[in-house]
Symmetry: C2
Subunit: 197 residues, 2 copies
Amino acid sequence: MNKKANTTYPINDILSKRWSPRAFADKVVEKEKLQSILEAARWSPSASNEQPWFFILGWNNDATYQKIFETLVEFNQMWAKNAPVLIISVGKQINSKDEPSSIFKYDVGQSVAHLTFQASIEGLYVHQMVGFDPDKAAELFQIPEGYEAISVMSIGYIGEPSMLHPRMQKAEKAERERKELSAFIFEEKFGKKSEII
Amino acid sequence: MNKKANTTYPINDILSKRWSPRAFADKVVEKEKLQSILEAARWSPSASNEQPWFFILGWNNDATYQKIFETLVEFNQMWAKNAPVLIISVGKQINSKDEPSSIFKYDVGQSVAHLTFQASIEGLYVHQMVGFDPDKAAELFQIPEGYEAISVMSIGYIGEPSMLHPRMQKAEKAERERKELSAFIFEEKFGKKSEII
């Protein structure tokens, strides 16, 4: 199975081999690797260095793992049960000037991307989900007002597509697809293709 | 000058050497490198593969560059004038089901982070800004309703801190700082430090 990105221009293997599987192997993720991927998230940039990211981490079927799992929608529970690590990302809605931030989700997204990049280096895979109940997460983890649960990540080593429910196997084996560069790299005005690409 | 991240746990050099300078060298960025960093942005993950990211790119002092520059606040204009490339990131607020998306900024942030990884691999540096006028950007580039200018990136090779206005030189040379892992990696409940770190 080759899920490597079919790129128009060359990119580093760490990026081209990254994708979001549903089949995770029954294999423990080493504590040292988790530490490194979390450290990567830490060194992400953010507006005014606000660092609006927080992560609630469950692993090895601990109580936190179980609670995160409970917040997932049924479809995601079907496959995420095989992932040895589940993490909820939480963003801080208010900046240090006590004003609502318009950029905190963007910065949490960057931090998660840094995590996925280090995960790819470690041979790990990450599948992010928005299919979970953020209100339930807030309740179960006592997330205070002013903070928002944004996504759940499943993390682990990759498994065999055959372990998945039949309706998920097709997507697991399908080629990865993205819109063409000409559809989103513009110059002069929005919608006009850049000459660079 | 050593700006390498002072990490608690090891992370890859591509991440630890990445930071956001204000001093950019007077050196053209090769078209091939721009193509690769944009390709990296393309292969970022997104909720339901919506790919809500769009980029307006100015370089080599072209008309697009000039217009992006005009949108920057005065403080950012003071240093960004040295960056050979300026890019506005734009997010799509509505998903393909015609519903307001709660996750598009998070996904645009991820895409920009992927761009910064490939930039780091290419020996380039990126400094992101929210200090710009998104309404002016919308007007100058005819950004349609339902789309939102989110950030501006300056990109180039690194320059000498001495080229900056004196009030910016201190930050340029300062050690990079982040909150401790214990301040944002939790288990059981929000605020309780994870045993992993």
